[in-house]
């Protein structure tokens, strides 16, 4: 993995993207993906102005809309995939809830002297169960996508081919790809359909934030510790586009996670190890420089002990 990848905190209120772009030495055009904003994809004036008017929006959301409007067979296959995914997620959630309840309960426990080994064995077993539930689900989701790929063969469809060719033409002139947040699954599926990462290649850098950072990871994990309904169980939802490895991005972590709850922090860190669970709040930044991950000051990761530590520490 030699491509430079920079993951940054949310950009709406405290944008830092222009500083990142400067630090990468990018002086030319910047390709932008705002497909996570869905029908608001084109409302990218602020982003464009922030970068001095040199963005080229790849119009990923609109391109997929165009493809769907002209290829009803593909739409049918996409709907079939969506139905299968929905069912898979529903069944996964049922198993996951029980597995996580057990893991949380055991991680909360303190063993009496002389019984520490027994508790530790059960804690590790509970974590193995959670990881097994995650892994099984991920396999099933991969299978569903593979079924879709085999049936739909997007790369052979004329509308898809046309848009991929256009993307190649637009991205050729750009020095940097930046991927904004929004609806992570919409973004993920649309980037995948157009195979944007292959089009972009591996020689030029990528900057991503929020859902953009999540979609580009190896695994897409949805999370919120304090939703108004339910337990707030983080879900390993889908395989990501795997533009990078070794980091699980957690945008808006301070708002979404109970970072003072050692059990929850510990569970997250241990469940998704060896990936580092990195909190991506405003002004944070973590960068793969081609050889290792480097965190800007204040960028933190969850530890297996239930604390937070600087990424570079």
């Amino acid at each position: 993995m030699s491509q430079r990848i920079v993951l940054i905190g949310p950009q709406r209120l405290q944008p830092t993207l222009n500083q990142v772009v400067d630090s990468l030495g990018v002086t030319g055009r910047v390709a932008a993906v705002t497909a996570g904003w869905e029908e608001r994809e084109g409302e990218d004036r602020e982003l464009s102005e922030h970068l001095g008017g040199r963005t080229a929006n790849l119009d990923v959301w609109a391109r997929v809309e165009d493809i769907m409007s002209s290829d009803s067979e593909l739409v049918g296959l996409m709907r079939h995939r969506a139905d299968r995914l929905r069912a898979a997620h529903e069944f996964y959630r049922l198993r996951l809830a029980h597995a996580l309840d057990a893991a949380r309960e055991l991680l909360k426990r303190q063993a009496d002297p002389g019984y520490e080994d027994l508790l530790q064995a059960e804690q590790e077993g509970a974590l193995r169960t959670v990881r097994a539930v995650d892994a099984g689900h991920l396999d099933r989701v991969r299978d569903i996508h593979a079924e879709f790929g085999a049936a739909a063969q997007p790369a052979r469809r004329s509308a898809v081919i046309k848009h991929r060719q256009e993307l190649q033409r637009v991205t050729r002139e750009c020095e940097l790809l930046c991927v904004a947040g929004g609806h992570v699954i919409v973004l993920l599926h649309r980037l995948a359909l157009l195979d944007v990462l292959t089009v972009w290649g591996t020689s030029k850098p990528i900057v991503a934030w929020s859902a953009g950072a999540m979609a580009l990871a190896e695994r897409v994990v949805l999370f919120h510790d304090s939703p108004p309904q339910g337990q707030g169980n983080a879900e390993l939802y889908e395989p990501g586009l795997a533009a990078y490895e070794g980091v699980l991005p957690l945008p808006h972590a301070r708002k979404r996670l109970r970072l003072h709850d050692a059990v929850r922090v510990q569970l997250m860190a241990r469940r998704f190890a060896p990936d580092r669970c990195v909190t991506l709040d405003a002004l944070t930044r973590v960068e793969w420089d081609g050889t290792r991950w480097l965190g800007a000051a204040g960028t933190q990761q969850l530890t297996p002990q239930g604390h937070l530590t600087e990424v570079s520490a």
Partner: protein, 378 residues
């Protein structure tokens, strides 16, 4: 008498200055765990606590600390309670109802304002306060002619921030919309919950009745107005998801009766009901004791209990345990559940008031209309 009340009495006996100094370090009423001590200072023949806690003796008397103008009353209040009250002060044969001058917490309603005790464990939710990060929605006013009522009706429509005509939105119709806006911070709550992704961006119609006690009491004209006039007009004006699963109806007190009765008269039209402290008075035998305004309500609820049908798909109901209506609301739950609807019932240590209804909005709205919280990361 608890320790804190004894301490208050001791300080009062030490004289006004000592008591002032002691009191200045505390919020009044003084909350110490479950114990709440009310304080009144001044000349009076009698001081009573007037509250709206059903089942508790009305008009609880303060006792005067001998030789002082300090009056004290201590009561036990369960964890997480919110209690609205006034002080009744008798002097020279006159009785006056007053807001507690020593208490900074007050709650407004259409009839004025009450003082409020925040019991141990109760804090006002943070999502009722304006959030500078939350984008603000917009209120538009419409007037439409109602054939059902034979006159003009005013409705305010809440459009979420970043509203656009190219997408479709769920619709929630609210009874007593202006009161929800004024006394339950409803616009701020909608802005915040949408911003937090806890509910989807939605269109909310805030309706108002010039004669709610009549029109909300199972009046067929009202149901007709909502189903045949208001919603079709809104669906013409705005990009709405025109399906029962995306339509909701809500209200409090008589507004909850109007919501249920409309859904009952038009089963399946609204997929979601949010009923707060519904005035669902019924009788199993004989007449009710609520006065003639409740006659049509009781008739409706009795009929509903006999033939509930399946008015909606998802029903969220809440009631305060300090309300007399808690008995009726609790009693309806098993019946509602048996009808095949998905029902969630929530109780709070609160009374029949707008802040109780405000505090339940997050739970009710996010249960009926789950937002894209797990899916969207901006």
């Amino acid at each position: 008498m608890n320790t804190l009340a004894q301490e208050a009495e001791y300080q009062a006996r030490r004289g006004p200055q000592a008591f002032d100094a002691w009191l200045a370090e505390r919020s009044v009423p003084i909350v110490d765990g479950r114990s709440v001590t009310f304080v009144w200072r001044g000349e009076a023949d009698e001081v009573l606590l007037r509250h709206w806690i059903h089942g508790l003796v009305g008009g609880l008397p303060f006792h005067r600390v001998h030789g002082t103008q300090v009056w004290l009353l201590s009561i036990d209040v369960p964890e997480g309670s919110r209690v609205e009250y006034k002080l009744e002060v008798a002097r020279w044969g006159e009785r006056r109802l007053l807001a507690d001058p020593l208490n900074q917490h007050a709650a407004a309603d259409p009839y004025g304002a009450n003082s409020v005790v925040h019991g141990h464990g109760y804090t006002p939710p943070e999502w009722i306060l304006p959030d500078s990060e939350a984008r603000a929605g917009e209120l538009r006013t419409h007037h439409l002619h109602s054939q059902a009522f034979g006159g003009e009706r005013r409705v305010q429509v809440y459009l979420p921030a970043r509203f656009r005509t190219t997408r479709r939105y769920p619709l929630l119709v609210v009874h007593d919309g202006e009161e929800y806006l004024r006394f339950a911070a409803f616009k701020t709550v909608l802005d915040n919950l949408i911003h937090r992704l806890e509910i989807p961006s939605m269109v909310v119609a805030l309706t108002q009745s010039p004669n709610r006690l009549e029109e909300y009491a199972d009046d067929p004209r009202h149901a007709r107005y909502l189903v045949e006039e208001l919603v079709p007009e809104l669906e013409r004006l705005y990009p709405l998801v025109q399906k029962p699963s995306a339509r909701g109806l809500m209200g409090a007190s008589f507004g909850a009766v109007a919501s249920l009765s409309t859904a009952w008269r038009h089963p399946g039209y609204f997929g979601n009901l949010l009923l707060q402290s519904g005035s669902f008075v019924f009788t199993d035998i004989g007449n009710h004791d609520r006065g003639p305004l409740f006659d049509p309500v009781v008739k409706f609820v009795n009929s509903f209990r006999k033939h509930p049908g399946r008015p909606t798909e998802h029903l969220y109901m809440s009631c305060g345990v300090y309300e007399s209506l808690i008995y009726y609301n609790r009693s309806l739950v098993p019946l509602l559940q048996k009808s095949g609807m998905t029902v969630k019932f929530s109780e709070s240590h609160d009374g029949h008031n707008w802040e109780n209804w405000r505090d339940r909005l997050r739970e009710g709205l996010s249960w009926l209309y789950p937002g894209p919280l797990f899916m969207v990361y901006e």
